[in-house]
Symmetry: C2
Subunit: 189 residues, 2 copies
């Protein structure tokens, strides 16, 4: 997706060899028009079969998941990350290790919002180590739902997540894949 | 907003005297069509003057803030709640006590995304004790930006937040105000 590559190059910033910050349009400030273009492209890739629900993880996946859900006219569900006394205790849950935060957290979805009749499209902003995605796949599996695939905005091709998730037989579509970061420059696959 | 009151009555659930759960359409699972109707109504209330930015707090404010931002064709910014090594250290920040989680957390917005030229509309899903809203107002004040007002989906009129925030001279528009919860029934103002 040319427009997204341009946004990453011109409005993103690089830290060291492995961090690309897209806070200016995707992760902290949201460029809603670009977000809608991203959602349209993700939706187009999964238009072949039924999709009944979009699943993502709070917080930065929510806006793009909602935009994809708007196109499919289905609900978006975001897995909760933090303990909350208001969350339904009757949940599907999975442990996810976050390299960014260097801690294990639990992601949870209420049993009310995922079930065997669902065809679930997982949507997330980044795919790096793949652990959040595998956690969400586990939620879908626990629900007995059908996993349609994963739609990713930015995949870091130099990290193992893409390979790991695809090796489970899951279809993963990434709008851009970053091949490497060199001298502060992002190179796309 | 009649349609929202109906959704709360029919698809929400009540816990005790003070908790209304709207996980089925606003806080965990998102009904994007209803969300867009909510956003249209919020936007209509603030159409009089310039709005250059929508501000909310992760996580459950993000979807409605993005939907409002789409209408105004401006960026949405969501304040971060959790420490993250990837966040710009150069931030506006405020401490917020959460009654739900019974702890103080810090909300932060990068200085890159709020400034003196901004006319900021704060958007949030709930107004109860008002502390998150006052924290966001502090971020706007620190940035030297103009606070247009606060657009709230559900205000708990029996809690002190609305009074507290309005007493600062801030315009607060709530789509529905819950007057009281009695015998598991929600009564609107």
């Amino acid at each position: 997706m040319e427009r997204l590559q341009e946004a990453i190059r011109q409005r993103g910033s690089v830290r060291g060899q492995d961090i690309v910050k897209v806070d200016s349009f995707l992760n902290h400030q949201l460029d809603v028009e670009l977000l809608d273009a991203i959602a349209a492209e993700l939706a187009a890739r999964f238009r072949g079969g039924p999709v009944t629900k979009i699943l993502t993880c709070e917080a930065s996946g929510i806006a793009v998941a909602a935009a994809v859900a708007r196109i499919f006219r289905v609900p978006a569900v975001f897995a909760k990350k933090n303990p909350s006394r208001n969350l339904d205790p009757d949940c599907f849950s999975a442990d996810v290790y976050s390299y960014t935060r260097q801690q294990i957290y639990q992601i949870r979805v209420s049993r009310s919002y995922l079930g065997p009749a669902d065809h679930v499209l997982i949507v997330d902003d980044f795919l790096a180590n793949g652990l959040a995605l595998l956690g969400m796949k586990s939620l879908v599996d626990q629900a007995g739902a059908h996993l349609v695939g994963c739609g990713i905005v930015i995949e870091k091709g130099f990290q193992p997540g893409g390979r790991k998730v695809r090796s489970t037989g899951t279809r993963v579509e990434s709008l851009v894949v970053i091949d490497r970061i060199e001298n502060g420059q992002v190179h796309f696959a």
